[in-house]
């Protein structure tokens, strides 16, 4: 096919996973476009039943729409697919509930540029002096437990392994486009990076309380969340996670029946 020279708008992509976030998605998209003008904005509408898609398009975002709800892992992975297929060099993940402050994207980018060897920069709530993140004590405790376990496993201090406010380079995008956890992916993703010998670092960021909608982790689900993530951590340790080589069995194949 004939390649046409086109002006490259950007090599940076901001992915906003959104499930029924009609109340906040416009503000998030506009804030990203204002504070991170070098980024194209992609909203992944994860099967919303409200106006999320139309509002996001009106705000100037590219929109991927899932035909049904896949959960946060599937939504973010669609972002990785998109970034990989369209040749973006960097991708930042910003939640659609306006919990993440788009002004901090620059902080992540600076950290990535400062250290060429880093494949993922993660915004941490707990490295910051700014205490604007008044999480309930139960949730903070849970996060600190994960932080403790994950830090031991990867041999590096990780203070906020559940934060989804992350900037990925091309290597990390490629890894996660091929294999990204389903349900509560953030903690497991840190371990996957470690297993695949990719490097990450954390930088302090401010975070807000959620602007609307409901968290993917409601209080009733937090026990399930704890158990699922712990299972994923410890089963994940024993799991080989090779990226399939050409000719290998496909990760999803009909021939894998008993």
């Amino acid at each position: 096919m004939l390649l046409v020279a086109v002006p490259i708008a950007s090599s940076h992509l901001a992915v906003v996973p959104a499930y029924n976030e009609a109340a906040t998605v416009r503000a998030v998209v506009e804030a990203v476009r204002e504070h991170a003008p070098g980024f194209d904005v992609l909203v992944v509408d994860d099967g919303s039943t409200d106006d999320t898609r139309r509002i996001a398009e009106d705000a100037g975002a590219i929109v991927l729409r899932h035909p049904f709800n896949l959960g946060i892992g599937g939504a973010v992975q669609s972002g990785f697919f998109y970034a990989l297929e369209h040749g973006y060099d960097f991708m930042v993940q910003v939640d659609g509930d306006s919990q993440h402050d788009p002004r901090e994207i620059a902080t992540l980018v600076d950290a990535m540029e400062e250290d060429i060897g880093v494949d993922m920069v993660c915004g941490s709530r707990f490295l910051s002096d700014d205490h604007r993140y008044p999480a309930p004590i139960s949730r903070r405790t849970g996060i600190h437990i994960f932080a403790f376990i994950v830090s031991r496993l990867v041999g590096q201090r990780v203070t906020d392994p559940t934060s989804g406010f992350r900037l990925y380079n091309r290597r990390a995008i490629s890894l996660f486009a091929h294999d990204y956890p389903h349900d509560y992916p953030e903690v497991e993703a840190v371990l996957m990076l470690h297993v695949h010998r990719l490097a990450m670092r954390e930088v302090p960021v401010r975070m807000f309380q959620r602007g609307g909608g409901s968290s993917s982790i409601s209080s009733g689900k937090s026990l399930y969340y704890m158990v699922k993530v712990l299972l994923a951590i410890f089963v994940g340790l024993a799991r080989a996670r090779p990226v399939p080589e050409p000719g290998d069995d496909a990760p999803v194949a009909a021939t894998h029946s008993i």
């Binding site: 096919m1 046409v4 086109v6 194209d40 100037g60 590219i62 899932h66 040749g87 999803v252 008993i258």
Partner: protein, 142 residues
């Protein structure tokens, strides 16, 4: 052993066997999923008919009443079948996730091609969707 329970076991296993075969014949059940069912029905049928084998097995594992061994074995098969279905459901979940993601990407691409085709048509340029597809790989949105 009471002959009544033997008759009931044989009839039940035969009905299961014939029922599964009939579902396969009507193409409502894939052979892939029918094999385990057929195998379990055959084993239960064999044990129901051949009582000596049942008694040997019962004696080996210390079951006092041999017909109970039949139920233990049937239970084992049920567990294996359920696990088999959990695997099948997990695989289907993974496959439908990938399909939904690919579909979303294709839909976005198609809408973009249609938009750029419209713009070209409005500008009086020839519309070439292949060129438009290549050219629009990266976004130059406002």
């Amino acid at each position: 052993m009471d002959p009544r329970i033997q008759i009931v076991s044989i009839v039940a296993a035969l009905m299961l066997l014939l029922g599964v075969l009939e579902l396969v014949r009507q193409r409502r059940l894939l052979e892939r999923y029918a094999l385990l069912w057929l195998f379990s029905a055959l084993v239960v049928l064999g044990l129901a008919i051949w009582r000596d084998a049942l008694e040997v097995i019962a004696h080996l594992v210390g079951i006092a009443y041999p017909p109970n061994a039949l139920f233990v074995i049937a239970c084992g098969f049920i567990l294996v079948l359920l696990l088999h279905f959990s695997l099948a459901v997990s695989r289907l979940t993974e496959q439908s996730k990938v399909l939904a993601q690919r579909q979303a990407l294709l839909e976005e691409r198609q809408r973009r091609l249609e938009d750029s085709g419209q713009e070209r048509a409005e500008a009086g340029e020839p519309v070439d969707p292949v060129l438009a597809g290549d050219g629009a790989d990266r976004h130059d949105r406002p």
